[in-house]
Amino acid sequence: MSDGPAGGARPGDMRPLPAVAGERPPKPRPAPVPEPEAVEYWKAAHDGRLVIQRCDDCGQHQLYPRARCLRCGGPVSWVEASGRAVVYSYTVIRQNYARPFRDWIPYVVALVDLAEGPRVMTNIVGCDPEAVSVGMAVRARFEPVSDDAGIALFEPA
């Protein structure tokens, strides 16, 4: 198992990298420019909450945010999700030239199915990449990436 890059990051721990004197500053995680219909979604993640859309008519949940319910066309409202999910599929990324991700190799990219239904792309953190499996129960944790946006990461439940 790799000792990780300078700065002490461990596998499965995709935290912002510390600056190292004499080297160019670490690149932060990319941050979104929130689209108007998604401001609340990104802000909630910044504040440590996962919100998803729920159809006012049929009750179907969805992400990412859309103007209407994808199932029945009804109007949608934001509701808070439980943050519980299971891994639908995952991969351990072992080659990515883009910073900051290349400094975190190997790391896990996964699709997880929220308990409420929607599927989201994420990283599984807080465990060894080799410990991740399809069907594994995970829960959301959050990381701010700008003043008005955060992202949901998932860790073993």
Binding site: R29, Y64, S89, R94, N96, V109
Partner: protein, 391 residues
Amino acid sequence: MSTPARRRAVIAGVATSDYPHLPDFSEHAVHAQAAERALADAGLNWADVDGLATTGFFPMYATGVAEYLGLHPTYYDETNAGGASFEVLVEHAADAIEAGVAEVVLVTYGSVQLSQMGRRLGTGGGGGGGAMAPGPAIYDALWGNTLVGNYALAARRHMHEYGTTAEQLASVAVTMRRHAADNPMAQYRDPITVDDVLSSRLVADPLHKLDCCVISDGGAACVVTSAERAADLASTPVYVLGGAHATSHHLNLSAAADLTVSPAAQSGPLAFERAGITADDVDVAQLYDSFTITVVLTVEDLGFCAKGEGGPFVEEGGLAVGGKLPTNTDGGGLSACHPGMRGMFLIVEAVRQLRGHAGANQVPDASIAVAHGTGGMLSTGATLVLGREAP
């Protein structure tokens, strides 16, 4: 409304450019070389061309290629479905020929991505372009996924649901390399084994380096015209029997309902119905092989085996010349040439097979061929059925 026999669409000429490394070519010069050769193969001239179909990575692309080639087409099309684009463009061109709105449509592709970008395409970004991802693509773009990683997610899920093994995936690459050995232009021709694939480095589990297509320069072209026009030409025409295309999502893999099913499950049955064939009628296939998993999904979704049986199908030699479904007889994108959007190469090799011009990997008496393109992140699928005989 049935098409009169004289208006039936045919492919009258095909060619590739030189490949896989063209450091002295511009992208447009690759188009020109492939187009000139395809016209010569058809026995037509630039002045005969009244339609142009091509696509690339900026808007009004076909217009730009027309300008470079000195063409003033009254039919043009640049539908972009990623790697599936050229099956869609030929389907559209065939419709235009049969509708009588074009007489000779040149379909071209050109790329110098190896010379311009090197080999970082598959693993160079935050996934869909990081924070620069367009529109809703942002929702999958912030977690350091790569192009290879997207296909790896599909492969992992297929393994989970159906017990598909890394060895089975690897066997796709082994068969493609065997076919490439007989293609003098192929980028890689030395034989490989399943162990070679499994011992090549993991790029994104479970996909190894040799589960991934090569990165090349190159282009290809074909000429679509009517049976009536082709009758006057020295070349052997191949009939466009039917085509169809589908999409399940754009760049967000999270928006795909089921990662073990590709859009081929929609486009394949539609194209076969339009062509009046079944999977059993197909003699030879050219299936987009961006990654080994792409081929496993495609043989299942087009109905060459049941869902979940793609692993055993490829492991038992189903893709080899002499197997159930001889596939990618030029060595495919996994070994011969993958210049970004490979779809045009699939059509060229399909036509060569139906003409009996496929060299050492010729499938005896091939009369029905399928070319199937897959684009984006398993986002698009387009199926084209070609035949030696008139429908």
